[in-house]
């Protein structure tokens, strides 16, 4: 683990482990409490696997009342709690703490109600994102947000992270596609937010908890909006001789008044890796490639695709393929969806970044990434949700080499700083977690962060729920004399502190 400050370990809690286990077993079935070292190991990390830490105890509640009792008990006893969905998050949001109770929502795995008339699904949080679409697709409905981990990630985790996906530009992210939730706060209080209605009255607490990365409450039920499957969908696969041409084409498509359902860009490195991996028929001679998907009424799709074709040609497209049928369209996407695993051929590990930038800056940022790649001597492949400016540079490295991991993280930081510099943000959909925690000051000043921390304290007085995530804790650590100092400098010594 690289030198990242985490909240101080409470030795008293660790010494009380047996008592805590005993008390948790009074709330849930005995087999739903794990405390043996071997049982804890599978929970030591999430999708950000470079960081590992076994929790003190893992508990699997089976209903909302149990979640409430666990949280109340932990709150009263001042025990930290880290909530966990499917553990697919990429920013370390579910990384356990040595003195925490890891609260897994794995047993909340049922869809509770499908309500076609009100166009919504009520689900427990542990249900996977894809399962919701699968449950309603026979009636030609679907759930719009589709993160690439949709086969494994849970809907509760999606709410906690405000997950996006390839269709966010047109259909929004999780926050735009949920109607209600049942949540439990750290003091054990249960609260229903929203329902099956549009919007809700009073403060938009549902909007606040969406994307709050498990810091404000534990989600025990979610009501999502389902949409009718569009009448028709077509995708175009467009190759460009330069990155600039591809970037310009993205801006021109949006400027012309077209909002594609999905618009993905890949650079040469990734085109080669993925085409080799899934043989999707990608243009291997291109420097950049776009997949543009349009959906909606058939006449609209045909007309707009013709316009996309013209815009692509104007931007010197070297190849244009338009899907003739759904099979071909899905083949175009197969490569993109396999982009991350395809990188396995390029290096033992990859580190996936997640900044968002104004679309018009795509080419500029890509150039900068190439420059940084040379500086750090680490290869990089780039996948972008180009429609919404969300970048996923994949830095290739070897995790067994600790120095290389540190170098990779430094490289990633520089990319994100550049994203902020050009008017973008640190994270588009993966969350801050522990990964970007120390970089929050790049985007926010002290007053901004303090306001957010005050909200946290308003809902979790003792800061016991998922502490150490999202917000820098170094000042607190420094006060406690726990700053890691190397060569006379702390990590990220040149950024503002709190």
């Amino acid at each position: 683990m690289t030198n990242l400050m985490m909240p101080r370990i409470d030795k008293k809690t660790i010494l009380k482990k047996k008592i805590i286990v005993k008390n948790l077993k009074k709330i849930v079935k005995s087999e739903n409490v794990l405390d043996h070292e071997d049982e804890l190991r599978p929970f030591e990390t999430d999708g950000l696997s470079a960081y590992k830490q076994k929790p003190l105890i893992v508990v699997f509640p089976e209903n909302t009342e149990q979640v409430s009792e666990i949280l109340k008990y932990c709150n009263d006893e001042r025990i930290k709690v880290v909530p966990r969905g499917a553990g697919t998050g990429l920013s370390g949001g579910a990384l356990p703490l040595a003195d925490c109770v890891l609260l897994s929502l794995g047993k909340f795995n049922k869809i509770l109600e499908i309500d076609y008339k009100n166009r919504c699904v009520v689900s427990q949080p542990g249900v996977t994102n894809l399962s919701i679409t699968q449950a309603v697709q026979d009636n030609n409905f679907y759930y719009a947000p589709d993160p690439s981990s949709q086969i494994a990630c849970s809907i509760g985790g999606n709410v906690a992270e405000n997950s996006g996906g390839i269709h966010s530009l047109k259909y929004g992210t999780t926050t735009n596609n949920i109607l209600g939730a049942e949540v439990v706060f750290m003091d054990g209080s249960i609260c229903k937010l929203g329902g099956k209605t549009f919007d809700s009255e009073g403060y938009d607490i549902l909007g606040l908890i969406t994307g709050s990365e498990g810091l404000l409450c534990v989600i025990t039920e979610v009501t999502v909006k389902i949409l009718k499957t569009p009448e028709s969908a077509k995708a175009a696969l467009i190759g460009f001789p330069t990155i600039e041409d591809g970037g310009k084409c993205v801006s021109d498509i949006i400027s012309s008044g077209i909002i594609p359902a999905g618009m993905e860009m890949m650079d040469k490195e990734l085109i080669h890796a993925t085409d080799k991996f899934v043989k999707a028929g990608y243009p291997r001679n291109a420097e950049s490639m776009l997949i543009v998907e349009l959906d909606g009424a058939k006449a609209d799709v045909l007309e707009l695709m013709e316009r996309v074709n013209k815009i692509a040609k104007k931007n010197k497209a070297s190849s244009i393929k338009i899907s003739k049928n759904d099979k071909e369209r899905l083949k175009f996407w197969a490569g993109r969806k396999a982009a991350f695993p395809a990188c396995g051929d390029m290096a033992p590990d990859y580190y996936c970044m997640d900044g968002t930038i104004p679309r018009g800056k795509l080419a500029e940022v890509l150039k900068e990434i190439k420059k940084l790649s040379k500086k750090y001597n680490l290869p990089v492949a780039n996948a972008f949700h180009a429609g919404d400016g969300n970048l996923h540079p994949l830095i290739m490295y070897n995790s067994n080499d600790k120095k290389e991991l540190a170098k990779t993280e430094k490289f990633g930081e520089e990319i994100l700083k550049y994203c902020v510099k050009v008017g973008g943000v640190l994270t588009g959909e993966h969350g801050v977690g522990i990964e970007k925690r120390e970089m929050m000051c790049e985007m926010f000043n002290n007053d901004d962060i303090q306001q957010q921390i005050k909200i946290k304290k308003a809902l979790d007085v003792s800061s016991l729920l998922n502490p150490g995530k999202v917000y820098p804790i170094l000042r607190k650590c420094a006060e406690e004399g726990r700053v890691h100092v190397h060569g006379g400098k702390t990590k990220f010594f040149n950024i503002p502190r709190f």
Partner: protein, 425 residues
């Protein structure tokens, strides 16, 4: 509280009006009042000032001079404006690039003044009441990408950014929407803009009763025809004290019949709009004589009147809004007395009601019924008959406690619009 006391709740004294032109001045003013414990009513143009509970504040902070478009990048699909910028100015500016605010901001001037006053960007965000396209495109809260504001301690804070995909920190943009100025004085907002459709047509089905209308709306919204507006306008109320006037409001040449109107809007390219209208006709199951088609021009007028609640412009009665799951709408309406008039928007998800001779007790009994049906109710406009209700908006104990804690985190001394939404917040 006695009726005299209720009536004495007057709007703040305008002689104590502050009209800062910069964010820094807003911050300094609030800092000053924070120190001296003086409460502040925050207003924009005042177009929605009467929504919520009346205030008794020491000062009024008007953001009407904090105006101007800071940045408009059509290709990046956003416009960044100062909070006091008028909505019509924004709409006119983005119209030049064939773009629109997809949530269809409501011009509340018709309801409160009988004439247009579309309000400001900050006001729209603070109240979060979207127009007919809510059904398809979401509410105002779905279109705020970021903001800057001053909290109750006078600190300038920001959240969000200029991009659609952003999960950096808590999404405070959602929280300030619908907070009615009780958390912050908004100074700047970044709104998402979207391409304006080339064409919009409206299919009107005449004289359906409420059940068949709701069934039709459900059928077409659950189809792949991408409906962007769906309303039911019943025949004028038989109540002679209700002034809601459907027939006279919609004097459009292409409406073939009088009586109730069930209307659905489709938007897009001409060819696609034509195709979808044909499909929608086949789903009605009635003769051509019962169907009217409004082309782009008349369709635009029709939806402008719906969006701006123009048929309520002559009324002095109470107006309230009920939001429900669509399946509950008709069921609830049976429980309302005939002396009310109403119309249904958002494909059956919202009922706007004009109520004459309403009592607070009766309003609360309607709230109970609404809650049983899984919805919520808000008083939008008071009347001389019922000038005050204690509970303007709906809340339960659990949400009240959380809201109170959130309020404290932004405004610990409760100086910003105190009590505007709920007593104690």
């Amino acid at each position: 509280m006695s009726m005299e006391e209720k009536l004495s709740f007057s709007i703040s004294q305008d002689s104590d009006l502050e009209t800062p032109e910069t964010e820094e001045k807003v911050s300094n003013i609030i800092k000053k009042f924070y120190k001296s414990n003086i409460t502040i009513e925050i207003i924009g143009s005042g177009s929605k000032r009467k929504i919520g509970k009346p205030l008794q504040c020491g000062k009024t902070l008007s953001l009407s001079k904090l105006t101007g478009i800071i940045e408009y990048l059509p290709e990046e699909l956003y416009i960044k404006v100062k909070a006091g910028t008028r909505i019509d100015k924004i709409e006119n500016e983005i119209k030049k690039k064939n773009q629109q605010l997809a949530f269809e901001p409501i011009d509340f001037g018709y309801l409160f003044l009988g004439k247009s006053n579309c309000g400001t960007a900050g006001g729209q965000v603070a109240c979060n009441i979207a127009g007919p396209r809510r059904l398809k495109s979401g509410s105002i809260r779905d279109h705020v990408l970021g903001f800057r504001a001053v909290n109750g301690r006078g600190e300038i804070i920001k959240s969000g950014g200029n991009v659609v995909k952003n999960v950096t920190g808590y999404d405070l943009s959602k929280l300030i929407c619908n907070s009615y100025g009780t958390l912050v004085a908004i100074t700047e907002v970044t709104l998402k803009v979207l391409p304006a459709p080339e064409e919009n047509n409206t299919l009107v089905v005449h004289n359906l009763n409420i059940e068949t209308s709701m069934e039709y709306l459900d059928q077409v919204i659950s189809s792949s025809n991408d409906i962007s507006g769906a309303v039911f306008l019943p025949i004028n109320s038989t109540c002679e004290n209700c002034k809601m006037d459907i027939q006279n409001t919609f004097q459009l040449n292409d409406l073939k019949q009088k009586g109730s109107l069930t209307a659905v809007r489709v938007e897009g390219s001409k060819k696609s709009v034509d195709e979808r209208i044909e499909i929608l006709k086949t789903k009605v199951g009635t003769s051509e004589s019962n169907i009217s088609l409004l082309g782009s021009l008349q369709s635009t007028i029709f939806w402008k009147k719906i969006r701006n609640l123009e048929f309520f412009s002559a009324t002095k009665n109470n107006i309230f809004r009920i939001v429900l799951p669509p399946t509950e709408t008709a069921k609830l309406l049976y429980k309302l007395p005939k002396k009310f008039s109403y119309f249904i928007d958002w494909g059956g998800s919202v009922i706007w009601v004009e109520a004459c001779e309403l009592s607070e007790q009766y309003f609360n009994s309607i709230r109970k019924k609404v809650l049983m049906h899984g919805g919520y109710i808000s008083m939008i406009k008071n009347s001389d008959f019922l000038p005050y209700v204690e509970d303007v908006f709906t809340i339960n104990n659990a949400r009240f406690n959380i809201s109170q804690n959130i309020k404290k985190s932004f405004d610990p001394k409760r100086i910003l619009n105190p009590g505007k939404m709920y007593s104690g917040i």
